[in-house]
């Protein structure tokens, strides 16, 4: 490794702003100490009473990690504007608010592992909960190690600090408010960090575009270089092919399908797990849905700003071959062009995006370790104060574990982050089926996880090492793994019994899933637990008044909202970047985005309001059931 060289030196004014912003972020978390210690639900879900805009900024802040600007800079520099589709996986947040978010919020599960226990029954459900709880506890520690290691690299690059300083310093600062106030501290600091980072990302990107010659200057320079295709987000090398260095139409189709259909499932992407926590912390079903929708959209918005400014960086340095060098392009623009004072705020924003990710994973890992492993398995009778204490101990253990991993085993964390993405392929469809299809049982889902372990090793490591398989492009890897894993879980599903009908009815009444749930719905109607919604009159598309019972059911309004929302996301992704380069199509896309967003809101909001009001009446009873189940009191 090269000896560290300092790229930037801050002046006194910069350090003043860095110090003030860090102090404010920590203070913002710590002052919620009294609220965080009240109960397990306060320490991990802020009492389930937050308005939508708080978890929304937290969703955005969590989607933005220290390595995100480097990753997106790398993809845009390499692929041009079409690289914008790689981070478009966040678009699962376009569909999820109108399906899986609503179902998950209604289940009242504190974690995804707990949801498995509510959705499925018997030994299989318990095994799934134990498996996911262990996986999530450990994976959150790995993500912490990975993000801290990225911060270490940034500090080495920018200031020439020793690696361990960057790895440990800011993460330790963050632990102060996560330990004291739990999720209250996380979400309040995230709100502030989200706003600061959004403002600074916008400012630095605009500044970078200006310095690179402005929108027309960038486009002209790209034309001179013979690289005009870089401004086209739909530029494909061919419809399909097997060369990993090319970008095919099938790459885009796979990415869009993976993201948008993935919104129907739970657990398809690693982002689902932190967002599940935000969904449950929202005060109503409506707030939960809007928090995911707005947070995801803000991330797409941010990506477009980055994309336009990275094209500016490209015209300044069109021939950098080392990815480790061009990945720092966006950081370089900020630290090079901003004047004194703003550089300090820029560095404070980098720290903010680091802290928001760290705080989330510290609290989330502790949630799984406390709620699912300790509370459910080790000490079901523990009182609220004891659970908060254990939550803090688990937070501390995760922090220490992440330091050990981040400092000593960088190759492991690098591999695991890759493995996490890879595994999205094998469990992508099972994660959807478990939500949409009543017959998909716990053994099928568990077997898909285990099979995925084997298959992903075979496809990306063992078979290429043996020379049996060549290195395949991403879209082929995705579909190959999806098919191979399905060869295991489909037979397992049909060779094992369905879940217990009483349990399924209980889950259906609480969560009201849509899809292939006919037999369970008919049984619930027969028992008089839900009304038969097929007899309800057909509501107009822009209906303003909804009967709460009607709003509780599924209708074409939900489908239309999800479709409009997806188009809104697509138009924003393309439109913002296009407009920043003064492209006419960019303006048209933005108009389309606003129109789709407005229409979506008009179609779904009255229904959401009525549904949320109706659900609030039953929420306390459902929550008591969930608590009893965690304490093993009402198992069949």
């Amino acid at each position: 490794m090269n000896p560290p060289q300092s790229l930037v030196s801050l002046v006194l004014l910069d350090w003043v702003w860095v110090g003030l912003f860090i102090g404010l972020m920590v203070l913002c978390g710590v002052i919620f100490y009294r609220l965080g210690k009240r109960s397990e639900a306060d320490f991990f879900l802020a009492g389930r009473g937050l308005p939508w805009w708080l978890p929304a900024t937290s969703v955005y802040a969590t989607h933005t990690a220290t390595d995100t600007p480097m990753w997106i800079t790398g993809t845009i520099y390499q692929w041009g504007m079409r690289g914008i589709w790689y981070p478009f996986f966040s678009a699962w947040c376009a569909v999820s608010p109108f399906y899986s978010t609503r179902i998950f919020r209604r289940s009242m599960a504190m974690s995804q592992a707990e949801w498995q226990n509510l959705r499925f029954s018997g030994l299989g459900a318990e095994l799934l909960r134990g498996w996911l709880a262990g996986w999530q506890t450990f994976m959150n520690m790995f993500v912490l190690a990975w993000v801290s290691a990225a911060m270490g690299k940034v500090c080495v690059y920018l200031f020439g600090w020793p690696n361990w300083v960057g790895v440990t310093l800011f993460t330790t600062v963050c632990a102060v408010y996560v330990l004291s106030a739990g999720y209250w501290g996380v979400v309040m600091a995230d709100f502030q960090q989200g706003l600061i980072s959004f403002a600074v990302i916008t400012l630095v990107s605009l500044w970078g575009i200006w310095e690179a010659g402005g929108p027309t200057g960038i486009v002209d320079r790209l034309a001179e270089l013979g690289e005009s295709w870089r401004t086209n987000p739909f530029h494909f090398d061919a419809f399909w092919g097997l060369d990993g260095s090319q970008f095919y139409a099938l790459d885009l189709i796979t990415l869009l399908l993976m993201a948008l259909l993935g919104g129907l499932g739970m657990g398809n992407f690693i982002d689902w797990y932190p967002e599940a926590q935000r969904i449950q912390s929202a005060r109503t079903v409506r707030d939960a849905a809007y928090s995911i929708w707005a947070g995801g959209l803000a991330a797409i918005f941010r990506n477009s700003f980055w994309a336009a400014s990275i094209l500016g960086f490209f015209v300044l340095f069109p021939r950098i071959e080392s990815s480790t060098e061009y990945e720092f392009g966006w950081f370089w623009m900020g630290f090079t062009y901003l004047p004194a004072g703003l550089i300090g705020m820029f560095f404070a924003a980098i720290i903010a995006i680091h802290l928001s990710t760290i705080s989330t994973h510290l609290n989330l890992g502790a949630l799984y370790a406390t709620r699912d492993l300790y509370h459910h398995y080790v000490n079901p009778e523990a009182d609220e104060q004891k659970l908060v204490r254990v939550g803090r101990i688990n937070t501390l253990l995760l922090l220490i574990g992440s330091f050990v991993l981040g400092l000593s085993m960088e190759s492991i964390t690098a591999w695991l982050i890759f493995a996490l993405w890879l595994q999205a392929a094998g469990i992508w469809l099972p994660s959807i089926l478990q939500v949409m299809w009543w017959r998909f049982n716990s053994w099928a889902y568990l077997s898909s996880w285990i099979a995925n372990l084997l298959m992903s090793w075979l496809v990306v490591f063992v078979l290429p090492a043996l020379g049996v398989l060549p290195a395949l492009p991403d879209w082929v890897n995705f579909w190959l793994l999806a098919i191979l894993v399905s060869l295991v879980y489909v037979p397992v599903c049909f060779l094992t019994k369905p879940d217990d009908m009483d349990h399924l009815v209980q889950y259906y009444v609480a969560a009201r899933p849509a899809g292939l749930w006919g037999p369970v719905k008919r049984e619930a109607v027969r028992r008089g637990l839900v009304e038969d919604d097929s007899e309800y009159p057909r509501r107009p598309l822009l209906a303003r008044e909804w009967n709460p019972r009607e709003a509780d059911g599924w209708s074409r309004h939900d489908v239309i909202a999800a479709v409009l929302s997806s188009f809104c996301y697509l138009f924003v992704a393309v439109g913002i970047a296009g407009l920043l380069l003064f492209k006419v199509w960019g303006a048209f896309c933005l108009v389309g985005a606003v129109a789709c967003g407005w229409l979506m809101f008009r179609v779904i909001d009255p229904k959401m309001k009525a549904m949320s009001e109706a659900f609030e009446g039953t929420q306390a009873g459902l929550l008591a059931d969930v608590q009893r189940r965690t304490r093993w009191e009402n198992h069949p």
Partner: protein, 148 residues
């Protein structure tokens, strides 16, 4: 420092090891609390554990051998260093725009104080402070455990 192949194996082994610990906890609790069994681990359960341990140990052995073989032969995705190429790149004159080192120093800009470097951060800082105080006041006044 752990090499790449061993790092992959160790990382996955640790991740799945902790998940299996969760499985074990779930199984033991289910047997104790739902089945009310006197013997927590049945013969079948022990057999499953034994098969799983053997399978994992065998898998790790095979993969570590493969990884070693891949590194020795240069087969597969683990690429060996190519010093000749590096030397050629170092000797060739780099075209403009091929490195961040080509950029003119911006220290003069950076050292200058400007109003924008005070007003913009101060505005954001003040707004953030006021919002934080308002949020704290609002939520502290709410009753505990609204949904918890």
């Amino acid at each position: 420092m752990i090499d790449e192949a061993m790092g992959k194996i160790l990382g996955m082994a640790m991740a799945y090891g902790v998940s299996v610990l969760g499985l074990f906890l779930a199984y033991v609790n289910y047997r104790k609390r739902i089945v009310k069994a006197e013997r927590v681990m049945t013969t079948t359960a022990w057999a499953v554990v034994a098969v799983a341990v053997l399978a994992v140990a065998g898998g790790v052995l095979v993969v570590s051998r493969l990884a070693g073989a891949a590194v020795e032969t240069g087969v597969g995705p683990i690429e060996l260093e190519q010093p000749e190429q590096v030397e050629i790149e170092v000797e060739a004159p780099a075209p403009p725009g091929s490195s961040l080192a080509d950029a003119p120093p911006a220290e003069s800009t950076r050292r200058q104080w400007s109003w924008i470097g005070i007003i913009v951060p101060a505005t954001i800082f003040l707004v953030a402070t006021v919002v934080t105080a308002a949020l704290h006041r609002h939520f502290s006044a709410q009753p505990p455990g609204a949904g918890g």
